[in-house]
């Protein structure tokens, strides 16, 4: 790696159950303005723009091109898009900055899940031959993983409930979270997962700005330097995988340098309570690490943005001097199918 690249700014919307009164670009625009304002940059100053979204969520074809209206993309800008979580857009932007083609990048992502039925929409990302025709919804697949963990003795229903309870308790300090504070654990949605084990469905957006080298120091008093970032994928057939483990997360973390020195903070993208159990094991996180001080995805899980928010939350803690070395994790697909790990550091104070 020949260039140091940092997250220099982060912004996010409040995550809400519905945003009927806003189009996607209307929901996104305030976040774009907010993240630019934090650095004093204008769209024209940005070297590369990369976004993450999925048209299936709101059922709106080519919605990402309409969302570009909020950036101010004319005259034409250097721009790209990923049809997955914005954390992968950040990865693409990071590689673009590494090439030296750009010194700054705007990364944003958004998800408006409220117009559709998210549990059903997400079945469309599954193997179209053997799995999607059965319409196994996202909660059902997460429940199969949770039961596998219970059978393996890795957790039980009360331990899972405690994960959700702790996450939503710390989310009281996060004004953007959708569920803040205690909620009843509730009935089974798909057994063994109860309401309290599942993420809320909500609409939201997030944006970060990356900058390289001296540019990062100009734009941010304490940049969150990306010391490593990597993403890996599991075999696509659920029945081939050991659902109680996440080899792809472990490998991504290893390649990102996460195990070289301890981190003090971790933001894990675990939409379902049981997935935090898997990730803590794969990432070897012990009680000395502050995990999901934001409340995590179980308190707010805007599709396509929740992973980027993990990176943003970790970076913001470095910016504020609350963390010196933080791990951010993002996931996509059923049962932690694909995983991205980034290690962020602040310079010594």
């Amino acid at each position: 790696m020949t260039r140091d690249i940092a997250v220099v700014a982060f912004a996010q919307t409040d995550v809400r159950r519905t945003t009927d009164e806003l189009s996607e670009v209307e929901m996104l625009m305030p976040v774009l303005h907010s993240v630019l304002d934090r650095t004093g940059l204008k769209t024209a100053d940005i070297g590369f723009t990369c976004s993450g979204s999925s048209d299936y969520l709101a059922g709106r074809a080519f919605s990402f091109t309409l969302a570009l209206d909020g950036v101010g993309a004319w005259p034409p800008i250097s721009e790209s898009h990923v049809e997955t979580d914005g954390a992968w857009a950040l990865y693409e932007a990071w590689t673009k900055l590494l090439t030296g083609d750009a010194d700054t990048a705007l990364v944003y992502s958004y998800g408006k899940s409220s117009p559709g039925s998210l549990r059903d929409v997400l079945t469309r990302q599954l193997d179209p031959y053997y799995v999607a025709p059965l319409w196994p919804d996202s909660v059902a697949l997460a429940a199969l993983q949770a039961q596998a963990l219970i059978d393996a003795g890795d957790t039980d229903e009360s331990a899972l409930a405690a994960i959700g309870t702790r996450s939503r308790r710390v989310a009281t300090l996060n004004s953007h979270a959708q569920i803040r504070g205690p909620v009843p654990q509730g009935d089974y949605v798909v057994r063994p997962l109860r309401t309290g084990d599942c993420p809320p469905v909500g609409d939201g957006a997030a944006a970060v700005i990356l900058a390289a080298g001296e540019r990062a120091r100009e734009l941010c008093s304490r940049p969150a330097w990306i010391r490593g970032i990597d993403h890996r994928i599991e075999a696509h057939s659920l029945g081939v995988r050991d659902l109680t483990d996440s080899p792809s997360t472990r490998l991504a973390a290893e390649r990102a340098g996460a195990f070289e020195r301890p981190v003090d903070t971790a933001e894990l993208h675990a939409p379902f309570s049981a997935q935090e159990v898997v990730l803590r094991k794969a990432l070897r996180l012990d009680d000395s690490v502050r995990v999901n001080l934001s409340g995590g995805a179980i308190a707010a899980n805007p599709m396509m943005a929740a992973g980027l928010i993990r990176v943003g939350e970790a970076a913001a803690r470095v910016h504020r001097g609350e963390s010196d070395r933080a791990l951010a994790h993002a996931t996509s697909g059923p049962c932690l199918q694909q995983n991205l790990v980034a290690v962020l550091e602040g310079e010594p104070r």
């Binding site: 709101a58 059903d120 319409w135 029945g239 081939v240």
Partner: protein, 313 residues
């Protein structure tokens, strides 16, 4: 602000997908009540079988029959089945390792309740009555109190193998167009075309989408434009569209309404198709009960100068 508009939106499509040789053999086998796996590079038998090795990416072609009986490796009780799922009564989602396989297949298990299900439960395939060569040829699994079922001795060669599947997909949405487009649509109901002006570059966008694509700023100032406008460019449509009761050929045009900085598009009527030209002045024709103009027709004014609309092409 006026009430948020909402409308049902159904996205429905029959995906026609071709199959690779391993997928074809597996799904044809299901049609014939035979379950095939594939031998992976490390010797494991994978069911459902894949075309390429999940670890080495080697091409896999060595088909191996496995039994229609097996063991549950994990499960989840679904008390409220959803549209499209294998059973309409409460059931368990299961991963099942069939006898002779080293990996597990996802499907539904028909059981009286969650207390009747556990990891390690012995199950067997319940075949669908009508089978076409699809994963749904397995209706579901059911509890099986017994030994592994016998194999049929299939080699994986079948007469009339399936070459593809048609996977119907339907998603239902309740669409709302957002603030700017809601205001636009509501104005149209009063037969007024209302755009929005960018606070920075002052351009008026019609229809408005809430943001100026040049400046990246919210457009908030509403500006009524038209009703008359100028044809900036056009095309002649010669192919009749399905479900559209308009005689061909007809003209579809970009129209810059007076006061707008973006052309919208609409059909041109009231003039022979071969007489429509750039610069033609037009006005909307409304029909009773419609929420938007049926088409635009010539006003009879002299044509606009090219310089008056060249920036809007």
């Amino acid at each position: 602000m006026s009430e948020v508009l909402k409308a049902p939106l159904v996205v429905e499509f029959p995906f026609t997908r071709s199959l690779g040789p391993v997928q074809s053999a597996f799904l044809t086998g299901l049609r014939e009540r035979v379950v095939l796996g594939v031998r992976a590079s490390d010797g494991r038998i994978l069911v459902p079988p894949v075309e390429y090795d999940p670890t080495t990416a080697d091409e896999l072609r060595d088909l191996v029959e496995v039994a229609p009986t097996g063991t549950v490796t994990t499960w989840a009780w679904n008390h409220a089945p959803r549209r499209g799922q294998p059973l309409t009564t409460p059931f368990a989602w299961v991963l099942v390792r069939l006898d002779g396989s080293d990996t597990a297949l996802l499907h539904a298990l028909d059981a009286p309740g969650p207390d009747a299900v556990h990891t390690g439960l012995r199950v067997r395939i319940r075949w669908a009555g009508e089978r076409t060569g699809a994963i749904t040829d397995i209706a579901c699994f059911e509890p099986h109190d017994g030994e592994p079922a016998r194999l049929t001795g299939s080699t994986g060669e079948f007469a009339d193998p399936v070459g593809g599947i048609v996977a119907a997909a339907r998603l239902d949405y309740t669409y709302s167009p957002g603030r700017a487009q809601t205001a636009y649509i509501n104005s149209l109901a009063d037969r007024r075309t209302v755009g929005e002006r960018c606070p920075s570059c002052r351009k008026v966008y019609v229809p408005p989408r809430g943001a100026c694509p040049t400046c990246g700023l919210p457009t908030t100032e509403q500006v009524e434009v038209g009703p008359r406008g100028t044809v900036t460019t056009f095309c002649i449509v010669n192919i009749k569209a399905k479900n559209l009761d308009i005689e061909v050929p007809y003209v579809y045009a970009h129209i810059a309404l007076d006061g707008a900085d973006l052309a919208l598009h609409a059909r041109i009527g009231g003039i022979p198709y071969d007489q429509v030209r750039m610069g033609l002045r037009v006005e909307p024709v409304w029909t009773d009960g419609a929420r938007y103009p049926d088409h635009y027709r010539p006003t009879g004014e002299p044509d606009a100068d090219y310089d008056a609309y060249k920036e809007l092409l």
